[in-house]
Assembly symmetry: C2
Homo-oligomer: 145 residues x 2
DNA sequence: GTAGCATCTAAACCTAACTTTAGGTCAAAT
DNA sequence: ATTTGACCTAAAGTTAGGTTTAGATGCTAC
């Protein structure tokens, strides 16, 4: 059992954010002792899931829906599983996108290294893809589809 | 040379967004013909960079700063390179985070598969990490640090 | 010549996810 | 007894990144 201050430190989230999450219905079963919230193992695991779903791109109101499903027992197992499958694909896609962003960034890093070496960007900006070093060409191609 | 409508289609961005970017100073050198914007190769490459930096997590006002550096010639090569290096690390970090999110999601997918098989989550929720299948245990461990 | 487009501007509006403010309760330490 | 510190609420404020609205301009096809 933790206070809001302890939970705040555990997850490195401001107290105001935890209260906001509670107001938004993300802890549907949180207990209170004379008005004060008690974060049990239940809420701690909820917070882990909240962080995960948030980073996966899910909006608060949809995380709330999941938390409601969790209070409804075995009849919502399928929905819950499907939500996690959906977010899994979303994150896989996001990672793929970021890999292409990374290639662009690698190309640009190389580009400015060369420009610095030359003192100008004339040579490097005139270079055609097939004149680039192999590893840089791959990055260029991946980011200029 | 492209009109705003053509650029909008090329990048799949609303016209209003392109005008907003212009207002925010993201095309410092864009030409106009009797008031109408002309998107040249310069602005097209700028848009590729904008998309990249945006996805890397950079704010519009910082992208603007980069675009200003780009108008200042060789004296800003170093700053520009450092910006790309910084965003490269940021994206590498973000990908790492997402890999851990992915592990949590894989664990939860497995969890609900088991719960569906069993008709309840009693067995699977009582399972200690070392009783999990090896691949799932890895996911669990990576997401419950 | 007028109807239909694409373009333009300034300014208001929108949304999500918080954060801040102002005021209040309560228990423990001084 | 009063001060400190952790908790509480409701409501207002904030920020980023757009989007929408309303009204204007100008080319081109009929």
């Amino acid at each position: 059992m933790y206070t809001i201050g302890q939970a705040s430190k555990m997850f490195n989230l401001p107290i105001s954010t935890l209260r906001y999450y509670d107001k938004e219905g993300l802890f549907p079963n949180i207990q209170r002792v004379s008005g004060v919230r008690r974060f049990s193992d239940n809420e701690i695991e909820a917070l882990r899931v909240i962080e995960c779903l948030k980073k996966s791109g899910l909006a608060i109101k949809d995380i709330k829906k999941f938390m409601e499903w969790s209070t409804q027992g075995s009849q919502t197992f399928k929905q819950r599983k499907e939500l996690f499958e959906k977010q899994k694909s979303a994150v896989e896609n996001e990672i793929d996108k970021l890999e292409r962003v990374l290639d662009m960034l690698k190309y640009k890093c190389w580009y400015y290294e060369e420009a610095i070496k030359d003192g100008n960007e004339d040579k490097v900006s005139a270079m055609l893809p097939d004149q680039l070093p192999e590893d840089i060409r791959v990055c260029y191609d991946n980011s200029h589809i």
